[in-house]
């Protein structure tokens, strides 16, 4: 069973599309939504579903394979590798920080006070699901479009 991957391609992010795909698949692995052995969509399926050029998907998959995140099994498709490297704490924080930096710049330009910025972030986290945005829930990361 191929899980339905919700990848979000942001044309406005300035991040190459293959990179956005790679980052999000890695985040799914890091968050254990995708586990070792899980099948991921074929190049054809993903290209059609996201309306992106198939060569872009090929590039993302090739890079992910090179990094040991996925493996291709002949005639069967692509799977999350048994020893898919988890994101380190530093990588998680790095990914988050890139987006946060952009947010900080824009908030400064707009003269939005810091408490308001924090409120907005909290609201966006809540919007992603009931488990998010509560005080007790440690916020690990919730990056949709990825960075780099």
């Amino acid at each position: 069973m191929v899980p339905k991957l919700h990848l979000h391609i942001d044309e406005r992010s300035g991040v190459p599309v293959y990179r956005q795909m790679m980052d999000q698949i890695k985040y799914y692995v890091a968050g254990a939504t995708l586990r070792p052995g899980d099948q991921i969509p074929s190049i054809r399926e993903l290209a059609a579903a996201l309306a992106v050029n198939p060569t872009t998907v090929v590039k993302a998959y090739t890079e992910l394979e090179r990094e040991g995140v996925i493996e291709k099994r002949h005639g069967k498709g692509a799977f999350i590798a048994p020893a898919a490297p988890q994101l380190t704490q530093a990588e998680q924080e790095g990914a988050l920080r890139r987006s946060a930096k952009q947010l900080a710049v824009e908030a400064t330009q707009l003269h939005v006070p810091t408490p308001k910025v924090i409120t907005v972030v909290r609201e966006e986290l809540s919007a992603l699901g009931p488990a998010r945005g509560t005080e007790s829930e440690p916020v690990k990361f919730a990056v949709m479009a990825g960075g780099n």
Partner: protein, 308 residues
Amino acid sequence: MEPVIHARGLGKSFRNGTVAVNGLHLQVGTGEVYGLIGRNGAGKTTALRLLMGLLHPDRGEARVLGRSLWDAPREHRQRIAYLSQSQQLPDWMSLEDLNRYTGHFYERWDSAHLRSLARGWDLPWNSPITRLSGGNQRLAALALALAARPEVILLDEPAAGLDPIARRELNQCLIDALLHGNGCTILLSTHLLGDLERLATRVGIMDHGHVVAEGAVEDWQRTMRRVQVVFAGDSSPPDFAIPGALRSTSLGPVVTALARVTDDAQLDGIRHLPGARVYVFPLTLEELFVDWFRDAQPQSSTDDATPD
């Protein structure tokens, strides 16, 4: 080996004196999706018509799949599909008629594909084309072009006049064409730059009849940035320039540039200037395009002329 689409030193003027295409070089390799962008009147339509052999060049060469289409036999021409801006189908015919009639001329005609596209787009199979809305007539023309299972597809603003859903379907059927069999090579002109970010492998900016900038979409997304530096005083320091700037404007203490930032450290020098605050923003293709042309010199009168 020569690329699938090859133009070299291509030039074309019209009797009214308009120089529509002027020294165009263009190389598109197998399996590429190349987006041609540019202002109205930049020469995109004429370039495509020259490549299709619908116009004869004044100079230079235009070849598709290894030969000029101006005098190519039918077997060669039918490997290439072309959708013009003003596609005229015989509009008293229905898709069914066209399927039967047109199919005879093509070796690789795929009736099943045409039916499936028509079904997917809710195009009536038995009504005359003239009864279809403008957008649906365009989709019908595109479906017929794709039913020939071409190896090369040239599209002149294919999404013009389509609603967002139809546009997405158009993109998806182009991706389908890329995935089918041995794939295909696509050259399209468009003003819808968001679509190109997903679809295109390379983009060329056309101006005054030739390509003035060209790059891999991925590379542009990674490196093209809008960099803004705000100084503390009333003006920016004399001789100040943002490293990597391609276009630059300055207003009092604010300097803004379209810059190629290959490495963030490239900006470290200006980050450490006293009183300078540096902001770096990613750019969409659309913003890049606008920035590119915003500060261009006033353009000559030939620019407003429509090539055909």
